[in-house]
Structures are given as C-alpha cells and as structure tokens.
Amino acid sequence: MVVIYVLDVAEFHPVVESARKLPNCTVEKSHGDYFRIESPSEIVLNRREMKLKPAVWYGIFTGGLNGEIAEWGRDEVRVIPTNKPL
C-alpha cells in the first residue's frame, strides 16, 4: 500500500486531481486539512501533467508519505509500497 497525504491548499490541488484519474487510487478528504490518496500498489505522478512549478514539485510529499520513492526525476516520480518504518 502507498499513501500520500496532501494539504488542502491551492498549490497542491493538482496532485489530488491527478490522483483521482489514476486507476486503483482512492482519494478521500479524510481530515479537515488533508486529502488522503491510497493505492494498493505504486503511484506515479507527472509534473508536467499537473503543471507544477519545480519549486513546488520538489516538495510534493511535504504533506506526508507512506511509501518509498523508487524513481525521482524532474518530471516524474514513482512511489512504491515499503516496510520502512514511519
């Protein structure tokens, strides 16, 4: 399982909107401040698709992450499930 937590502010809304279109992803407003994006497998996000500026992209998981970053580039990130401690 991979979980991405996204703060409910305008600059990170594109992450939520992008995740809604992904197969196997469930997106919930689980708390007043955060969206919770969950997938049983990996989650791949694309910067250009989300139209995120680089300075925001590099902090994309600042809301919290349960997963491991398997690939990390200027335009694409792939997060996979992990047993690493939270």
């Binding site: 708390h31 401040d33 300075a55 809301g63 919290g64 992450l65 491991e68 939270l86």
Partner: protein, 237 residues
C-alpha cells in the same frame, strides 16, 4: 584595526554600556533550560520589521546601489566614534526605507578590511541569509524585474514557490535580495501543517541522535509526517 594612539584616545571615552557586556550573547544558550512562553501567560507582541543590518566594506557602491539604483530613500545615518567598546572602529550606520516602516541598514567600519570569512560565496549556506521584500501585485513584481534589468542588473527569472513568487538579485556586497509576491493568504491550516512537518523532523533527529546518527534525507521526514497525519485522521481530529 585602528592604530595604538587612536585606540588609547578611544579608550578614554570608553563607557560601560550594554554593548560592553557580552552577558546577553547567548549563541550557545541551553534552550531546554529556558522558560516557555506558555508558562508565564505573557503574550509578547511584535509589529513587523524595524530593520535588518549587515556590514559593508563598499561605502559608495552600497549607497549608490540602494539609494540611486533601487531608489530606496536614505532615511537615517549614524556616524560615531565606536560604541564605547575597546578597539571598536569608528563607523557609519545608514538606513534605507523598504516600505511599511521596514528599513535595511548597513555598517561601514572605517579603516577596516573585510575578513575573508565575510566574503560572499555562491553557495546556499551563504545565500540563505537574505532579505526578501514584498510587492503587492503581479504588475509591480514584473515592473521590478523589467526596470532593474533595464538599469543593467542581472535578475533571476520568476520562481514560483508554494505561497510566494519571487525574483532574485544581489547587491554590490554579494548579499542576496529577493522581491516577493504573496500568492495567497496564509491560513490556519498552513500553521498546523508546519507544526506537523517540523514535529516529524524533530522527533526523528532526537531518535537518531541517541544512536549517534543524524537525519540523512527528507523522505524519512515525509514518512514520519505521514504517520502523524494518519494519527490525526484516525483520531478524528
């Protein structure tokens, strides 16, 4: 350093002011021993920035840059025979108005050379110590970039951050300057989120230090933050 004769002249005017007493120099204070603001019920209040100050060894260039090129009014200058401390150089301390009462100030220590450790370097450690001024509209941000470039300065492209969009340039001392447009209001949830991010980092640092280790990456912080946010969700907070 001034010559010995000069020093002795200045010594006669030595005075025991707050500047002579390094007791308040608490760079190595044990923060854990200090009383918390919540403990005494006193809410101290600030009303924005009065001034920031840095040393300069380029008198004319600094004045011309801030006053004549950026166009910030020169509003105050102190010229003094030291502050009453032994061997304190004579100095000029001058202030430019950056709007809303916020001043940017410089010290020019007469007869001194810039020590090597104060030379600017193109490194994020050095550049993190910077001044960011606000503008109130995108048009004004654009106008600063276009106008400063037309005046011959090198200005960075617009950088869009989470809550700011900024342009960057440096002054003749190598000090970084930033002009920022706030993209949205800061909301209470921003503060709550900030607390969680830093709580995650502090928890991890404390845990790792006990084992003689340290934080190595932000991923670890993001995972602990994920735990803290999930706890919030589970707690129904």
């Amino acid at each position: 350093m001034s010559d010995p004769k000069e020093s002795s002249l200045h010594d006669k005017a030595r005075s025991e002011t707050a500047f002579n007493k390094p007791d308040y120099w608490v760079g190595d204070a044990d923060v854990t021993s200090l009383k918390r603001a919540g403990a005494d019920g006193i809410q101290l209040r600030l009303d924005g920035v009065d001034h920031t100050a840095r040393p300069t060894w380029k008198l004319r260039e600094t004045i011309e840059f801030y006053r004549d090129i950026l166009g910030l009014p020169l509003v105050h200058t102190i010229s003094a025979r030291g502050w009453g401390q032994v061997n304190h150089p004579d100095f000029l301390h001058f202030f430019f108005d950056a709007g809303k009462g916020a001043l940017i100030a410089f010290f020019y220590y007469i007869g001194t050379d810039r020590p090597e450790k104060y030379e600017p370097e193109d490194h994020w450690f050095f550049n993190s110590n910077h001044t960011a001024w606000a503008v109130d509209s995108r048009e004004e941000l654009d106008r600063w970039k276009e106008t400063l470039e037309a005046r011959g300065l090198h200005v960075s492209p617009h950088i869009r951050h989470e809550i700011l969009e900024s342009i960057y340039f440096t002054d003749p001392n190598g000090y970084p300057l930033e002009i920022s447009l706030r993209l949205r209001d800061i909301e209470p949830l921003d503060g709550r989120d900030a607390e969680l991010t830093l709580e995650a980092a502090m928890q991890l640092e404390d845990e790792l230090r006990k084992n003689g280790d340290r934080l190595h990456d932000i991923d670890t912080v993001w995972r602990r933050k994920g735990k803290l946010v999930q706890d919030l969700i589970d707690g129904g907070a």
